[in-house]
Symmetry: C2
Subunit: 91 residues, 2 copies
DNA sequence: GGCGCGCCATACCGAGCCGGTATTGGACCG
DNA sequence: CGGTCCAATACCGGCTCGGTATGGCGCGCC
């Protein structure tokens, strides 16, 4: 599992549409499809149902969506905090 | 930045020693050195001081260590929770 | 003060992953 | 029943990641 995979997952969940999410992420649709499937493999459970109009979150996906957002936000905050600690006490 | 990089960073910080951390992670020392340097590049600040006996955490590194542990724990918890949600309500 | 040892850093190489294009298969809608 | 729109698959190229070999440097012991 990678951070990119988590970001991809969040985008797909928000768009409920793989192709639109791919456009938003500036990548093509097939690698995005693969990343999501590989994430489902790793979690060991499907995260979306596939429909003719796009995809829909399953319960496990909804849980993961919340947690993934928290993790990605925490990561950004962690980096910002570390940078701040480095510039605050330079000598 | 990758999750592997965060795990590597935590191991090096805990061991205060790149070579020992590499053994613990079951990878060789050079890739680990590179991963840490690349992490420092990305954060934009050095995280360790290099000494003749190993490495020592800088303030920015100490901050990041705490946050990295939280993030990695949160990730494990998130996956476990998603799995649970998938098996709990199967139909 | 020179010698040796242990550490991190660099050079180089091969394999596996990631993203891209092209295409298929299938469901809904007129 | 044909067109359209969606995700899924096939296949390929570049790049990243990990491995081996080696270098450079500082400390410690005579």
């Amino acid at each position: 599992m990678s951070l990119a995979q988590l970001r991809y997952f969040v985008a797909v969940a928000e768009e409920q549409h793989v192709t639109r999410a791919a456009r938003r992420l500036h990548i093509a649709q097939p690698p995005l499809t693969r990343a999501i499937r590989s994430l489902e493999d790793e979690v060991g459970a499907p995260l979306f149902t596939r429909t003719a109009r796009g995809v829909r979150l399953l319960p496990a996906g909804a849980i993961l969506l919340t947690r993934a957002r928290e993790i990605l936000d925490a990561l950004d905050a962690a980096v910002a905090e570390a940078r701040r600690a480095a510039t605050d006490a330079p000598h």
